[in-house]
Subunit: 249 residues, 2 copies
């Protein structure tokens, strides 16, 4: 098995290195990741600027390419130019912080996995459910186990898995659950502050709107100590509303 690993925290991030180390004995690994921090970049692409890459020396014995672009740029350039031969699986992560609920829309980690799905390759985004004192050993060990037993053919073309692993020791993980994505919104609030010249600026805050997460959702599973695995589609088409709109005519 040949795995393309990417992320949105940059090729030097602790999470991507933990993932590469955990998987390198069970698969051929190639890393193509952004040169710098790209959190919150969703599925954005570089249109008006050129892309360049650097080959990164490393002691892991794997190919690491750093791209001066977004996570999606890295996957695109990797698959079209940098990598020779077939990729069986794209994994994006391990992201430092959870990607759950409607925040999945903004995530560069998820964006990279969506790109893999657009290319028709089974793809996985993986994130850790905490912000401080992160233990990447747990998600790395989980992914090593999960990837070995996953039947890649079950992931439909154009689909991907969004995995969130609780930030607790591996032995305390209760198992994993296939979940839906909470429809709850985060990140809709700004703090208003003043700068040196007393002009106002606005800072996005991780404010949680009131509301209840659905029982079968990613957020609830993670809170209960389970690994949450949410199947997603690259295409946003709303088949139910399409039928409704067609029938009204």
């Amino acid at each position: 098995m040949r795995i393309l690993i990417t992320n949105d925290d940059g090729y030097q991030a602790e999470g991507i290195l933990a993932l590469a180390k955990a998987l390198k004995d069970i698969a051929d690994i190639v890393v193509v990741a952004p040169m710098s921090e790209m959190s919150g970049t969703s599925s954005s692409i570089t249109i008006y600027n050129p892309l360049r890459f650097k080959v990164i020396d490393n002691d892991l014995g794997i190919d690491i390419f750093a791209v001066n672009g977004t996570p999606v740029d890295s996957v695109k350039l990797g698959l079209s130019k940098l990598i020779q031969g077939k990729i069986d699986l794209v994994i994006s992560g391990i992201n430092n912080g959870p990607n759950v609920a409607m925040n999945t829309c903004y995530s560069g980690t998820v964006g990279a996995a969506i790109e893999g799905a657009i290319w028709g390759i089974p793809s996985i985004a993986v994130s850790i459910g905490g912000y401080r004192d992160l233990d990447y050993e747990t998600p790395a060990m989980f992914m090593r186990d999960y990837v070995q037993k996953l039947d890649l053919s079950i992931i439909d073309k154009g689909s991907l898995l969004n995995i969130n692993v609780p930030n607790i020791p591996y032995k305390d993980i209760k198992g994993y659950k296939y979940t839906s994505i909470s429809t709850h919104s985060y990140l809709n609030n700004y703090e208003e502050r003043a700068d040196t010249f007393r002009d106002n600026y606005y800072w996005l805050s991780d404010y949680e709107k009131e509301g209840t997460h659905e029982d079968n959702s990613d957020v609830v599973a993670l809170d209960l100590g389970y690994v949450s695995i949410s199947p997603m589609k690259a295409s946003l088409v709303d088949d139910r509303l399409l039928l409704k709109l067609k029938n009204q005519n």
Copy 2:
């Protein structure tokens, strides 16, 4: 009716002004849009920098706010801080160039409309199906008609419409079709070029992969001279794959 208009080409773009002019007699309009060109920014958000806004003088008699961020930043800051009172509809556009097939994933125009849907507001992205000699009159007139007869309650919470209008005179438009999103991929190719110092760089090209667009797709409707209206969901959850994964256990 009160409409928030935004885009990804910037508040000064011809398309957004054409849209605002066409709608200002049938609704209260407020424009909150990026200060600069933001094409290809998808649903990206500004996390590590502050947002600021400018109030823009104009002779349209409407409020125009320019935000130093992405389309999603503009919608978020608009809805949480800049706009007083309720917004009934978010419209993002008119984008200069089509947003069809899997390119919808990268579109800042679509990203802004997804954000409106996340806030629970009926939302529409609108783009023109051409790149040169654009006639914004056609999509502007279409939107003026369509918005007046659209029953907003038919758009489910969390859903949006992605509209593409052919770049032809309004009288030549054959009508509109509710469509699916073509699963065809564009933008997966890079041209390799050399710079002044003979170092290579890569430039994303609008290369169309071989394959056939589905009969009921946005691309086919647009090519046939119809306005394409594709219903979309903000949430990417894949319910079918979720069921399949749960049943295998």
